[in-house]
């Protein structure tokens, strides 16, 4: 079974600074997707960034980028130029390619606070 581990329950960053959120996962599959989701107090899960395992290039989305280390099964999220609106819970998630086993497996999440 696949597992996703987020060992840091909380992190804090100064506005405009950079922060890195860590995630490790375990799988025997070679083809899969990894995601970072943001969940603000409004509760809606919002996709921040995705990474396809077969792509060696790290994904980037504006101020968000990942460090994907497939051999180490590590998938960290870097937030640059942190903004007050980045404060939320962040979840790392794993999914196999679409089909019968396309459920998302989430980590426990990390609460990110942004200091003005």
């Amino acid at each position: 079974a696949q597992t996703v581990t987020q060992s840091q329950p909380e992190m804090s960053v100064q506005e405009a600074e950079t922060v890195t959120l860590s995630c490790t996962y375990d799988t025997s599959e070679s083809d899969y997707y990894l995601f970072w989701y943001k969940q603000p107090p409004s509760r809606q899960m919002i996709l921040v960034i995705r990474q396809e395992a077969y792509k060696q290039q790290n994904a980037t989305e504006n101020r968000f980028s990942v460090n994907f280390q497939k051999a180490a099964k590590s998938f960290s999220l870097k937030i640059s130029d942190s903004q007050l609106g980045d404060a939320a819970m962040y979840f790392c998630a794993y999914r196999r390619p679409t089909g019968a086993n396309s459920k998302l497996t989430f980590g426990k999440g990390i609460t990110l606070s942004v200091r003005p």
Binding site: R43, M45, A100, S102, L104
Partner: protein, 116 residues
């Protein structure tokens, strides 16, 4: 596009009662998945519906059941409610057949269930 909509947003039930939660998927999506998110935890997969059948199920008892209608909307039913069923219930919709990232999940804002 209204996205994924869930109803109700909040409800309070008494132990032993039954509850039905509803979800309308994003336009064009044919697959609905349900997740339970306990306070301070990551979402846990309950089950997934496609073509009106349960296709995959997580580690949840038979008290949790669901249904998908011909218009792809879905219901989650929980019988004999326990205090431990108090959680945020998230619905996610996806498509198996189209999109750059087939199977990518879009989430609703959830239903907060409190069992007293």
């Amino acid at each position: 596009d209204a996205g994924v909509t869930q109803s109700p947003t909040h409800l309070i039930k008494t132990r032993g009662q039954q509850v039905t939660l509803r979800c309308s998927p994003k336009s064009g999506h044919d697959t609905v998945s349900w997740y339970q998110q306990a306070l301070g935890q990551g979402p846990q997969f309950i089950f997934q519906y496609y073509e009106e059948e349960e296709r995959q199920r997580g580690n949840f008892p038979d008290r949790f059941s669901g249904h998908q209608f011909p218009n792809y909307s879905s219901e989650l039913n929980v019988n004999a409610l326990l205090l431990g069923d108090s959680a945020l219930y998230l619905c996610a919709s996806s498509s198996r057949t189209w999109g750059q990232f087939k199977g990518e999940a879009f989430f609703g804002q959830g239903t907060r269930l409190t069992v007293v």
